[in-house]
């Protein structure tokens, strides 16, 4: 299940939704809004998404993960709208019988989601300026993780 959420994400409820009697492992990833990016103090940020295409691409990524790894269930929820420092921006969870598949699939999903799902981040800096991430005319240097 991939979805975009304009409301705060509830990680506990999401993790419970992945439970399965066969599951021995649950790996999760949470992306949090941090107070600096590339050395600049960040005050808040906003996410914009191309809704129908983002949901299609997200569902494709989850289907790919299920085909590549022996997982039981997987979910990814990404926030849209304005977020404060420390808020949960994206949640990924995977259950599997064994931990290798849970970790590998979780990482696959977040790596692909960040590279492919049409979601954009605009950071508001402490000095009052703001900017879209990755929007420079030339792709300069390696893209910052995560």
């Amino acid at each position: 299940m991939f979805r975009l959420s304009a409301e705060p994400i509830d990680p506990g409820a999401l993790a419970r939704s992945l439970s399965d009697p066969r599951a021995g492992a649950c790996a999760t990833f949470e992306g949090w809004v941090r107070s600096r990016n590339d050395g600049r103090p960040v005050r808040s940020l906003e996410y914009e998404a191309y809704l129908p295409l983002a949901e299609k691409e997200g569902a494709r990524i989850l289907a790919e993960a299920a085909a590549r790894f022996p997982l039981l269930r997987a979910a990814c929820v990404h926030r849209t709208g304005a977020l404060a420092l420390g808020e949960l921006a994206v949640w990924v969870g995977v259950t599997a019988e064994h931990r290798g598949a849970a970790f590998d699939a979780c990482r696959y999903i977040i790596d692909e989601a960040k590279a492919r799902v049409p979601i954009w981040k605009r950071e508001h800096y402490a000095d009052g300026t703001a900017g879209w991430i990755n929007a420079a005319p030339a792709a300069g240097g390696p893209p910052p993780p995560p």
């Binding site: 992306g31 996410y47 914009e48 998404a49 191309y50 129908p52 295409l53 299609k56 691409e57 990404h78 921006a89 994206v90 977040i110 989601a113 960040k114 590279a115 492919r116 799902v117 049409p118 979601i119 954009w120 981040k121 605009r122 879209w132 991430i133 990755n134 929007a135 005319p137 030339a138 792709a139 995560p146």
Partner: protein, 80 residues
């Protein structure tokens, strides 16, 4: 000439000043339409940094755009 819906996101939406417009154009492909709009509005992103989407699905720049299609330009994504 045909009428196409164009959607803009993120920095392109800011540079265009709106999120969506109806465009009358004689251009054939997604790439030609981006070139036309880019020249008119001064978009800073070159096409090699963008992807095109047609009717809410990724499409190659050479895809033919038809009357009534929804065309979108996808700036480099930055989720997570």
């Amino acid at each position: 000439m045909k009428s196409v819906r164009v959607r803009y996101f993120a920095i392109l939406r800011e540079q265009r000043g709106l999120a969506e417009e109806r465009l009358e154009t004689g251009a054939l492909t997604a790439g030609e339409i981006y070139a036309e709009l880019s020249a008119r509005h001064g978009f800073t992103l070159p096409p090699e940094r963008l992807r095109a989407a047609l009717n809410d699905e990724f499409a190659p720049w050479g895809a033919t755009v038809r009357e009534g299609d929804i065309l979108a330009f996808i700036p480099p994504v930055a989720g997570g």
